[in-house]
Amino acid sequence: MPEASADLSLLSAMITPAVLISACGTLIFSTSTRLARIVDRVRQLSHSFEQLYTGSVTDFSEERRQEVERQLVLLAGRGRLIQRALTSFYVSLGIFVGTTLGIGLAALWPRITWLPTSLGAAGTIVLFYGCVMLIGETRLAALGGPGDGVRVEAARAVPVAAAEGLKSPLAVRRGGWRWKSLITAAVGMVLVCASPARADAGIPMLWLMWPAAWMMLVPVIALEGIVARRVLKASWAESLKVSAVANVVSTIVGIPVTWLALVAVEVLYGIVVNVLPMTEPFSRR
């Protein structure tokens, strides 16, 4: 009976990366759909280009050509980001499957317990990188919309790309991506040093506090509106408007960002407490 129990716990441990494997699968599915949409859009724009050059469309042909070129530049950038994200998701999926096998192998050969831990950390970093690429792609997607205001913003955001035309479709990326790479590297370092992830990895308090904050939003807006009326000497409408704006911003941005910062401190504390003592045996050698 104890042997059966050990087998079951081994099986249970091997299934642990399934959560992340499932996450990879979902992301691959949604990212593939986005890629297919981009390909469809590029084909549509190519057709528009063809019509412009064959003279089928004569009204505002120069403006149309510039707009099509601009959109192709954005779509090329989006395509590259999606391709990187998709590659990352496939790679992390493979790594997580490797983690599952590693857990099984580590049960047979305890000397390689470092293998599933390393694979799990590597897979998480690659998955995170893919998510960062997707965020970048989403930003570009917002710039490529049909609205005039959005077009103006897009034209401002891609002056280099617009100037260089299709020769340099990734010029968009030169603008402000270095800080994201730095954040990716920093988080990657933290994840590499972190303890192995498990499905029963505790309670992230944001999951409890954020819904509660949303549920309390209306009474809090009313409460802070009363204070605003008293302190700011404003009308009821103005007081409630100020209170609503302030609390929506603070709930959407303040709580999650503060929580993430606190989690980062907790992770660093965990590294100091858990990982550093592990280096003692090596230093003794």
């Binding site: 990895a201 309390m216 204070v227 700011l232 404003a234």
Partner: protein, 90 residues
């Protein structure tokens, strides 16, 4: 108890039902940094929304308003914590 402030954002898996008091205690602790961030963020967010004559009272409003709202949260969480501690053996 000593490690709770640092461990509050992401709690370790609770051992059994007797550890349920940790959740309201951690939430009470988390309200402290949330309060300070909210005071700063809310003052910044509404700076352009309020009349120019009221700008000088903005920080005072943000501080007082968040004291009231987070005071309410803390009171609710304290009640929950007391409930958890009282019914710990039930």
């Amino acid at each position: 108890m000593i490690g709770l402030p640092l461990m509050a954002p992401w709690l370790a898996p609770p051992g059994d039902r007797r550890d349920s008091w940790i959740i309201p205690a951690a939430a009470m602790w988390l309200c402290v940094p949330f309060f300070f961030v909210s005071v700063w963020l809310e003052a910044w967010a509404v700076e352009r929304w309020i009349p120019a004559s009221a700008t000088q009272y903005l920080k005072a409003w943000s501080r007082q308003a968040n004291l009231v709202s987070y005071g309410l949260f803390e009171a609710l969480l304290a009640a929950l914590l007391i409930f958890c501690l009282v019914t710990i053996d039930a």
